[in-house]
């Protein structure tokens, strides 16, 4: 084994040698070479438990002579493998050089079928009403590795069903296979042991410790990690079967952490948001509040249509009115960290063509120490990367207030922010004409002379730069609701002479040349887990983030 690379070991799976990374268990090693070892209790981001016994495999090592230490050979000269007499769990076994594993032998197949039969002995035949059906590992592995029939003739056990364990989570203990992933999640990730097993033997149930409930902002992660339908979401309960839902990769807009998400939609309606694994950003977790952002799409405050003064007008008329206002005097542009990188670049072009200054808003709140950072916008660093602002200090909205008071600004173009929340007062807003481009109504949009309705993150494609300066891409999950326009189209219509094609791909061609950090990148080829950009030009700037899961700011 002298020629082996230090981080790789050779293991033999089903008679074939594979080079796999060292220091991992056999489930992960087999997965890395495309071999599935079924498992319920093992989760890559939780400690190993070994409770489900589904990942049983046969394991053996080359035999050595006890006295001399010399390899024992078969008659044909090949090393003789000492197979363990009974199967062992793959999740609890680390790879080691020359380890041999059988995943298809009769013993392994019988083990899997027997484990499945035991798990199904008390499992209710609830699949038609179970929300997990279609993404249930018990369902999938029973079909793949089970016997296909039950020999159990006794009555099934009765346990509490549909018991609320928290404000957003229900538990059905009959469906539970006692893998204890949720228990480990509470203990290891939340650091609050809320859930635990009670009673014994076949009556074991998962329940909250007395006086506790599964509250907090990360409770719905137990729904994701539950391999069966025992823990289900109250929000998604009986809403739609998962096999109808289209999955779109997206990015959570809750904060600058940039949690990777999957948006599940059907026929233009979003049903739920779940986290998407990214080992550099959010592992496999996500906040409950981030999951509820899809409700903003058809919120009653949602802006649709275009308005000028008090009357609704068509899009072209509103654009003409906005252009007239922007040309009437010196304009100011208020950008936001909620805008995508492409929109920020387009706004920069627009501001340059009208000769206005750009101000960048800031929305700060408390860091929850896990996946919600201080900066509650997903893309404030994008304003630096796209070149919209040089630094945060010179573009603060307080300076806009001073400029308005001094009478230097006549028109303010606001992108989706409420200027009152940003520290301006109502008197200052009355002094200027406001053009508002955003998704939802707020005090500023009520004051605005021209209102243009934009789209939420679910209705358009683009990219965000998170707190690590990681460029991450999101795709449109649903078409924009009627009466709204893609912000890029609106900005392009306003900057008619400078932006001719407002598609994300075309804007990227220009951004490539314009923004040094993006040179050589293409929108279509941004990988699913993002690209880390070179942040050295902004290393001296002060950022509000103090660190979250998997991110620690330099010097802190």
């Amino acid at each position: 084994m002298s020629e082996e690379q230090p981080n790789l070991v050779t293991i033999n799976i089903d008679g074939k040698d594979y080079q796999v990374a060292a220091k991992q268990n056999l489930v992960e090693a087999a997965k890395s070479v495309g071999i599935e070892i079924p498992h319920y209790c093992y989760h890559p981001k939780l400690e190993m438990a070994g409770t489900c016994r589904m990942c049983l495999v046969e394991i053996g090592m080359p035999m050595r002579d006890r006295a001399m230490g010399a390899p024992v050979l078969n008659e044909d000269g090949s090393p003789k493998i000492g197979w363990m007499p009974k199967p062992a769990i793959a999740c609890g076994t680390s790879v080691s050089p020359n380890l041999h594993m059988k995943t298809k032998s009769p013993m392994v197949q019988t083990s899997r079928a027997s484990v499945t039969e035991f798990l199904l002995a008390n499992h209710p035949l609830d699949c038609p009403i179970c929300d997990q059906a279609g993404e249930c590992t018990l369902q999938a592995f029973s079909a793949d590795y089970g016997n296909g029939k039950s020999r159990y003739r006794d009555a099934k056990n009765v346990k509490p069903r549909n018991k609320s364990v928290g404000p957003r989570v229900l538990i059905n203990n009959e469906r539970c296979i006692l893998c204890r992933r949720c228990v480990r999640f509470c203990r290891e990730i939340l650091k609050r042991p809320i859930l635990g097993p009670i009673q014994r033997g076949s009556m074991t149930q998962i329940d909250c410790y007395p006086g506790q409930e599964l509250d907090g902002n990360y409770s719905m992660n137990v729904v994701d990690i539950c391999p069966v339908g025992a823990l289900t979401s109250k929000d998604f309960r009986f809403k739609m079967r998962v096999w109808f839902l289209k999955q779109t990769k997206s990015i959570c807009t809750e904060s600058s952490v940039g949690v990777n998400t999957t948006v599940w939609s059907r026929e233009g309606k979003i049903y739920r948001i779940t986290p998407r694994r990214n080992d550099s950003v959010n592992d496999t977790w996500m906040s409950d509040s981030g999951r509820m952002i899809y409700k903003t799409v058809d919120d009653e405050n949602r802006l649709t249509g275009t308005r000028r003064g008090e009357s609704s007008v068509d899009f072209d008329e509103a654009i003409d009115a906005a252009r007239a206002l922007l040309s009437a005097g010196k304009p100011a542009f208020v950008a936001s960290g909620k805008m995508s990188l492409e929109e920020q670049w387009a706004l920069k072009t627009l501001a340059a063509s009208f000769g206005g200054d750009v101000y960048l808003t800031q929305t700060l709140a408390e860091n929850d120490g896990f996946l919600i950072s201080e900066d509650r916008t997903p893309n404030r660093r994008g304003a630096l990367v796209s070149g919209l602002v040089k630094d945060f200090e010179s573009a603060s909205v307080a300076k806009l207030g001073a400029a308005i008071d001094a009478g230097e600004v006549k028109t303010v173009f606001v992108c989706g922010e409420d200027l009152l929340e940003q520290g301006l007062d109502a008197k200052q807003l009355k002094k200027v004409d406001i053009i508002y481009l955003g998704t939802h109504k707020n005090a500023t949009s009520e004051e605005a002379t021209v209102v243009l309705s934009g789209r939420t993150v679910f209705e358009k494609s683009g990219s965000f730069v998170n707190q690590q300066f990681r460029l991450q891409r999101f795709d449109a999950a649903i078409p924009g609701i009627a009466g709204t326009h893609n912000e890029l189209d609106v900005i392009a219509a306003l900057a008619a002479r400078t932006i001719t094609d407002a598609s994300v791909e075309t804007i990227w061609l220009s951004m490539n040349k314009d923004c040094a950090a993006l040179a050589g990148l293409e929108f279509a080829s941004i990988p699913a887990d993002g690209v880390l950009l070179d942040a050295s030009p902004w290393a001296k700037l002060a950022f509000p983030e103090t660190g979250s899961l998997l991110y620690k700011p330099a010097g802190k």
């Binding site: 209710p124 035949l125 699949c127 038609p128 009403i129 059906a133 006794d154 009555a155 099934k156 056990n157 009765v158 069903r161 549909n162 076949s202 009556m203 309960r237 009986f238 809403k239 739609m240 079967r241 096999w243 109808f244």
Partner: protein
């Protein structure tokens, strides 16, 4: 222009007995008379209706069990399997105050079958895990508007009626619950 690849075959002139037409008329009358004397194969629809064979696939309907409980639990498998996408189910939770709410949990909030799309293939009946959707013997369906041919839940139960259930899965579940832990 493309070259025309055909050959003109001249029609043969009729012989003298062919020009008489009488042998042909007699042959035709022979066939007609023969069929007139046979038992008719057609029905005088709509006065006469055919007997429906077993396993006939008529209009799909929803049925209730002998206790008047709707069998459908809105698992949406019929919606998934339906080849012309005629079925549309909106799942929902049943009234938590209903007597069996704890053991049933789920029922359709709305259930629509668009009979203009339905192709009577019977896949919905085949896939239904609760035996709640059945194709009936009824085949003659008409309406004055397109909307009247989109059957809603009420209409589907009206057409479907009651089909006694041998299993009564939910009753068994309620009994098990009353019995408590089995082992």
């Amino acid at each position: 222009m493309a070259t025309q690849n055909y050959k003109v075959i001249p029609r043969k002139p009729l012989r003298w007995w062919e020009k008489l037409y009488i042998p042909q008329v007699i042959a035709g009358m022979k066939i007609t008379l023969g069929i007139m004397l046979r038992k008719p194969v057609t029905l005088k629809y709509p006065e006469e209706r055919p007997t429906i064979p077993k396993g006939y696939r008529g209009i799909p309907t929803l049925v209730k069990d002998q206790n008047g409980r709707e069998k459908c639990v809105s698992c949406q498998l019929c919606e998934f399997v339906c080849p012309p996408k005629a079925i549309r189910v909106t799942p929902g939770e049943i009234d938590p105050n209903a007597p069996d709410a704890e053991v049933i949990e789920k029922a359709p909030k709305a259930f629509e079958i668009n009979m203009l799309r339905c192709i009577y293939c019977g896949m919905c009946q085949e896939v239904c895990p609760e035996e709640a959707i059945w194709l009936q013997n009824e085949y003659s369906l008409n309406g004055y508007s397109r909307d009247s041919l989109v059957h809603d839940k009420e209409k589907l139960y009206e057409l479907g009626g009651t089909l006694p259930d041998k299993h009564l899965k939910w009753k068994k579940k309620a009994e098990a619950q009353a019995h408590g832990p089995a082992h």
